[in-house]
Symmetry: C2
Subunit: 344 residues, 2 copies
């Protein structure tokens, strides 16, 4: 293991301290005020009447989630240890810290630990703290049904689209149920698929979670290295993009043109899993762009870079989110977070 760290035990805490040092608009709350763990919040108090968005999950996927805290997106994020769910006390403390009285939306990726812990936090928030809570479950990964830590589909790249679009709506003063419903609509409109070239190594480990031969790739890998659909021989960028898009476009929500429900406009993301150079992500995006234009899908916005990662895994994920005018206008709204920023 070759990593920049002090000790494996302080990996997450040191990284969060660095995030806060680099971004004065964010604060890291730790200790007793954070349910025994820590969370990241906007330094400014939530505006009265604004619905708060709180997300979280295991660390190791940076910038997700703490890098999406800020104006126009999340109010707080609860990072667990690496690849480990945060705990209910942490989530409850975050909800209490950022609730303005208008309620809290929990954005939860579909992993069993996250789902159970956010559910318990929601019950505590409602029953003990009197906070109204809605939960949006993200399950966009079409690669497999049921996986190492998931019943149903896994949650991955669509998370940031849910957080951006629902976050913009919350910023405008929409009510709790409306914000949550928009989050669910974004999730229902988005599908993802990932391909890994290597495994990844956690800070506490000396070797990768899985090994791939030099000429193979994992097709449909999960963000913790969970198995995908199959191992396959390493293919060209064009073939990789094609197999990912074939899987995604098989979903009815993304079927357009003659066979479907009319023109399909999407936000397209090609996301690096950690160790893949940006130049390769653009090579993949070029293929995505070419393939989609041949299938009647119009890319109206795009993201290319590292947004939902798996530590030092080499690989890429593909996410398409079908948008209507309202979703697109919310996507374009100003945002100021460490990882997504425009208009501010």
């Amino acid at each position: 293991m070759k990593k920049f760290l002090n000790t494996p035990d302080s990996y997450v805490a040191d990284s969060l301290a660095g995030l806060a040092a680099a971004h004065p608009l964010l604060t890291v709350v730790t200790g007793a005020d954070a349910g025994g763990a820590g969370f990241v919040r906007r330094a400014a108090a939530t505006r009265a009447g604004k619905v708060a968005l709180v997300s979280g999950g295991g660390s190791g996927h940076e910038p997700l989630h703490a890098g999406f805290v800020g104006v126009g997106m999340l109010d707080a994020a609860c990072p667990g240890e690496v690849f480990t769910s945060p705990v209910p006390g942490q989530m409850l403390a975050a909800a209490q810290a950022v609730d303005s009285g208008a309620g809290v939306v929990f954005v939860v990726k579909n992993y069993t630990g996250d789902v159970l812990n956010f559910q318990m936090a929601a019950e505590l928030a409602v029953e003990d703290a009197g906070i109204a809570v809605e939960t949006v479950l993200v399950d966009d990964d079409v690669a497999v049904q049921d996986s190492t830590w998931t019943a149903g589909r896994r949650g991955t790249g669509a998370t940031l689209m849910v957080e951006k679009i629902a976050g913009a709506l919350a910023e405008r003063g929409a009510e709790l149920g409306v914000v949550a419903e928009m989050g669910r609509r974004v999730n229902a409109s988005a599908r993802s698929f990932a391909v890994a070239l290597t495994g990844c190594t956690t800070p506490a480990s000396s070797k990768p979670g899985f090994l791939l031969p030099d000429d193979e790739m994992e097709v449909g890998v999960g963000i913790h290295g969970e198995p995908g659909r199959r191992r396959a021989k390493l293919a060209s960028a064009r073939e990789v993009a094609e197999l990912a898009l074939d899987a995604i476009l098989a979903e009815p929500v993304l079927a357009g043109g003659a066979a479907g429900t009319g023109p399909v406009e999407v936000i397209a993301m090609v996301n690096g899993l950690g160790a893949t150079p940006l130049s390769e992500l653009y090579i993949l995006f070029n293929e995505v762009s070419r393939l989609l234009s041949g299938r009647g899908v119009s890319v109206v916005r795009s993201l290319v870079g590292n947004y939902v990662t798996s530590l030092d895994m080499a690989g890429a994920s593909f996410t398409l989110c079908r948008v209507d005018d309202e979703m697109l206008e919310l996507w374009d709204a100003p945002v100021n977070t460490p990882a997504l920023r425009w208009g501010l």
Copy 2:
């Protein structure tokens, strides 16, 4: 070699096509109009009277330089093949394409091939095309004097600070000499140092350019894997940050407090070399922040992420740029490029 690509020969062209597909405000010009190679420019014509900034260099350092083309920063970038200087014809074509009559500033990293080719392009621009040209040479890397491809110090992370600050000044209508002088001032105020944990592999190669044992790091590495000051045993994040800052703060321009010339305010960047997770970069930034506050250096702005990379090298570079009020205000000015965006 495991990479997402079609063929090694089409690596740069495919990646640039993807960049243009993802960012409609940019255009890739190829073929005869690009001096036989290609360059990336803003899609919009240069505003009359605005000085144009053109940079370039070998590919493999993405987002540098093409990812910094856009309002508030570069007008055009000339990418060479991977780790290979662009050619004079390319630079001349870019200058001709974006010159509005107010002249062009070439921002050139100090590598011998780049320096010679930009010098030839400047001569051609002035003598054959009647374009006024000023050149800003970037040589911020304090690790070594003279290296594999460099006489003097290498150019690295300060490049984006030169491009951002001089770019903002050009956007406001400053004259050619004034913009260039600001670029030189930023370069003179900035110092960098890098540490590698692994080598990197070019698309045409089957193995890394250099190999490091599992317990060693290259201290002072160059962005093409050029040797640094020494090999050392892998150290903690705190020790790595300390040795980098020791090298940088030994420079008179960054000496402050009692021994120096007054309070020192800096833009601090912790930059990933390609394969290092963002969480580790924040761990390093946390140490940078702590160490600098103990030495009387005030971090007024920061950047943490992958900005000047070396393909899939694991490692990080550190850049400090001392700023005055004018430079800071220009840093904060709106910018809209693929890799740096705020206020727009």
